[in-house]
Symmetry: C2
Subunit: 210 residues, 2 copies
């Protein structure tokens, strides 16, 4: 399999973690998002959104969208599971992941912040935009997990929720959010980063890191 | 089950369609998003994001996030299926749904547009913001389905992709997007709206419609 990614992309990072958790190795290719490489005709033919990640299977099938890719990997390589077996628990883990993947990350990603700057917003404006979106989202996430068992977001094993949490917490810090109130989320993050499959997926450990 | 929604919310609309497809009836409650009713302490105790939809199961369990709710309904009430049985096809349907639910809708929803206005953007500015996000997203969606069988987005039966498509096309028109190039998507929309389970979920047919 071939993974098109970018070291700093949260969405590509999620798939890196999932692949590591499943013990799968892939050939990595990189699309440099800051130089616009992902908008080249060659890559747009792979992924018509011009986004990373894209996972190319051995038969050439292209899969896009990080959560859809993670669910595919979980169906094809069931162990260790990224989702609990109980239907309610599965719904909660998916909802947690979607708070990040739908309501936080896309509203603070590079594309949106560039668009804000093109509309006359300053660097400070875009930082506060991102920080506000992240902070309100994380306040909700902290509430969603505070009755769940520890140390991960949903119990004793990492799930799709943790896969989304870890990259988004790094974004939170990059934009200056005050993370101190999110004690349960920080505990989950620490549990994740103690595992090699999470640590090896960190942006600074990727070959394309700058 | 109790569904907290709002007639014009795309996300609540998705769940209405899924419930109708499954033949499930629920008690409806409404959160008026324009007056900020969803941010009341009572509703925030139900859904800490202050968003619709929320689905409350008969035992009081609260489920949030429209795609997570749809997947739960699909697991609990398998017929008719919202996702194909083939793993690749499932991944494609989920990816299509996520293009809308992650990359289009959250970047053009009421909360974001209000935030833009609070930062000095005019009504015209916010309209063009929404239109641009929707147009680039739909161009990608048209490519993603143009080799799929008809008439629905992915074949002979409606899926989670169509559930997300129909509300987002209404948003596209509301913001003045030129839909004429999306012939395959419009064909899927027409096939959907010919079905009572889609037609009955239209915003204007909801009791809270204004």
């Amino acid at each position: 399999m071939i993974l098109h990614g970018y070291f700093r992309s949260s969405a590509a990072w999620r798939v890196r973690i999932a692949l590591h958790l499943k013990g799968l190795t892939v050939e990595n290719r990189y699309q440099h998002l800051r130089t616009g490489q992902q908008l080249s005709p060659e890559y747009m033919a792979v992924n018509p959104q011009g986004l990373v990640p894209s996972l190319i299977l051995d038969d050439g099938t292209v899969l896009t969208q990080s959560l859809a890719i993670c669910e595919y990997l979980d169906e094809q390589y069931p162990e260790p599971a990224l989702l609990p077996s109980d239907p309610i628990a599965r719904a909660r883990v998916r909802a947690f992941a979607q708070v990040i993947a739908c309501d936080i990350h896309p509203v603070q990603n590079l594309r949106v912040l560039k668009n804000l700057q093109a509309r006359g917003q300053t660097q400070d404006d875009t930082q506060s935009w991102a920080r506000d979106v992240i902070s309100s989202g994380f306040d909700a996430l902290e509430t969603l997990v505070n009755s769940q068992s520890r140390p991960f977001a949903f119990g004793e094993n990492p799930t799709l929720a943790d896969i989304c949490l870890v990259p988004q917490l790094v974004n939170a810090r990059r934009f200056g959010a005050d993370t101190s109130g999110w004690t349960r989320l920080l505990e989950a993050e620490a549990a994740c980063n103690a595992l090699p499959c999470f640590a090896d997926a960190l942006p600074e450990r990727q070959p394309d890191a700058e």
